[in-house]
């Protein structure tokens, strides 16, 4: 009992630490990445006493963004504007960060690990309706943004909040439809089971990843997911050229940092969902429980621990790749107009999602699922 509790606690803490530190890395990724895309130098100050330069390592500005930025933000003055709802103004950033963070509880980051006579499922919470949990927490996440804007007693913030909530509930629909098609394909809401269903290969070489079966759902999920995370080209809730900073105009210090962190954690969440549902989660091509079965008949036996570690590393690589894809999209596309945003959501993604669900239903009934 005590060991089980201990293992559960370790899993929860590990997931939180990895997600939050990946959020910090993404902050740096975005600074340097945007500089790379726009042909700038980007953040290049705050190296530790110039040590790197002295021994010939180029200064990538990592210390600057990953350490100096958070310290700067948390030591700034935390202001609440006059006439604001003090309680909700303080609550809102955490109300927006918490639901996104707890969503990672059901994301499987590895296969089972056998150690000391115990079988550990590498997933913080083994929930058989995991996808419903994901949709529920995403739905609750709207409140932080909406109330943050409203409680600020500022018209730009309120406009940003209204835009954010309208956008998020519109694109939740497309997100749900994308997820439903995946659920119909694999016949389960359990994320670990969906990842297991993506093991193996077709024709002896093609990994059975979900994106091969549900390419439309993948595009829907990425688009709707980026709209949920309110980033360019969907950043109308905070569009600085129109609304100062939108729903977090009146935030400073740690609370502003919480809103910013939410943005990055949402990016990681979208990447995690895309990886889990469409790119095999922790599945490594040709890697099975007992080792590598390469096409052509070559076989390399591996112990269980090595297979599990390969899985976790594969999941992390895919996760970071999708985070980078989102940063690339963010720094490549211009912002939508609001009517374009609504038209894309309601007249583009939702009918496409419905058609995809219908087509999936026909295929599943006519030919059965992939199993």
């Amino acid at each position: 009992m005590l060991t089980e509790l201990l293992i559960a606690a370790i899993k929860v803490i590990a997931v939180l630490v990895v997600v939050l530190s990946l959020g910090l890395v993404l902050m740096w990724f975005e600074r340097k990445g945007s500089a790379l895309i726009q042909d700038r130098v980007g953040a290049n100050r705050a190296a530790v006493t110039g040590l790197g330069a002295r021994i010939g390592i180029p200064n990538l500005g990592f210390i600057n963004t990953a350490l100096a930025d958070p310290i700067k933000m948390f030591t700034k003055e935390d202001m609440v504007p006059e006439g604001a709802d003090h309680f909700l103004h303080t609550l809102a950033p955490f109300l927006s960060l918490l639901p996104v963070l707890i969503t990672f509880a059901v994301i499987p980051f590895g296969d089972t690990l056998r150690a000391g006579g115990m079988t550990i499922n590498l997933q913080a919470a083994d929930l058989n309706v995991g996808l419903l949990y994901v949709l529920a927490t995403i739905g609750i996440g709207v409140y932080g943004t909406a109330l943050g804007g409203w409680a600020s007693n500022n018209r730009w913030a309120l406009l940003g909040a209204i835009r954010a909530s309208a956008q998020m509930i519109s694109y939740e629909l497309a997100l749900g439809l994308a997820v439903i098609a995946v659920v119909m394909t694999y016949g389960t809401l359990d994320l670990q089971a969906i990842v297991r269903g993506q093991g193996g290969v077709w024709f002896g070489w093609l990994p059975r990843w979900g994106v091969m079966l549900q390419p439309v759902a993948f595009i829907l999920l990425m688009t709707a997911g980026m709209a949920e995370s309110k980033r360019v080209p969907f950043d109308l809730p905070e569009s600085e050229s129109e609304l100062v900073a939108g729903y977090f105009t009146e935030y400073s210090g740690g609370k502003h940092a919480a809103f910013m962190l939410t943005d990055f954690v949402e990016v990681i969440l979208v990447a995690a969902l895309a990886t889990t549902l469409f790119f095999g989660g922790w599945q490594v091509p040709y890697l099975y429980r007992d080792g590598f079965h390469l096409p052509g008949g070559a076989f390399l036996a591996l112990p269980n621990a090595a297979v599990a570690i390969f899985g976790v590393v594969a999941f992390m690589i895919k996760l970071v790749a999708f985070c980078w894809l989102q940063i690339l999209i963010r720094w490549t596309l211009p912002r939508f107009r609001y009517d374009q945003l609504m038209r894309l959501g309601w007249k583009g993604l939702v009918p496409l999602g419905l058609l995809n669900v219908l087509a999936t239903a026909f295929v599943v009934v006519a030919f059965g699922g992939p199993h």
Binding site: V129, L132, L135, W150
Partner: protein, 176 residues
């Protein structure tokens, strides 16, 4: 579900339900209602109705309450000046309705089977059982309900829609 957890969630839902009616600010009331709905959702999950609990969280706490928030914002509802608002007749009929609901609740509870160790039937609350109920046992009722809801949606869009070619609504005086 351990008794202390049930007690905590039940107390939380009652306190937040009181918060809905006792607070003057409509946005605070709405937040308290979200809290009530979430506490009830967790109660559902703890009592074995897992799917229903999550659907409650998605549909009620996640979607419908956001629409309520929109209505509050669009109508620009302000905090009530005092708690003595409302007419006497409203209070009278409200009290009668509340008493009727309470009576109904006690009538149902008195008929409920007693005993501490009631067993839930196998598969109770699973998504499979819920789907069998909705799409097999009560298919006609389910489809009729969805058709009625569709008619309501189409009707409200038709009512709200401006005829083609008509000008935008006149702006309110004082606004630009």
């Amino acid at each position: 579900m351990p008794l202390w957890l049930f007690g905590f969630l039940a107390a939380l839902s009652i306190v937040s339900a009181l918060g809905v009616i006792l607070q003057a600010n409509p946005v605070h009331s709405l937040l308290a209602l979200v809290m009530t709905l979430l506490a009830v959702a967790v109660l559902f999950i703890g009592l074995g109705a897992v799917t229903l609990g999550f659907i409650q969280a998605i549909v009620y706490a996640g979607a419908i309450m956001i629409l309520f928030l929109f209505v509050i914002w669009l109508l620009n509802l302000q905090a009530e000046a005092g708690m003595a608002g409302g007419r006497l007749a409203g209070k009278f009929f409200g009290a009668i309705a509340a008493a009727a609901l309470m009576g109904e609740l006690f009538a149902i509870l008195s008929r409920a089977p007693s005993g501490a160790n009631l067993e839930a039937p196998a598969g109770y609350g699973s998504i499979h059982n819920l789907a069998m109920l909705l799409f097999a046992d009560y298919l006609v009722a389910f489809e009729v309900t969805s058709f009625l809801l569709l008619a309501a949606v189409v009707g409200s869009v038709a009512l709200a829609r401006r005829p083609a070619g008509s000008a935008a609504p006149p702006r309110a005086a004082g606004s630009r």
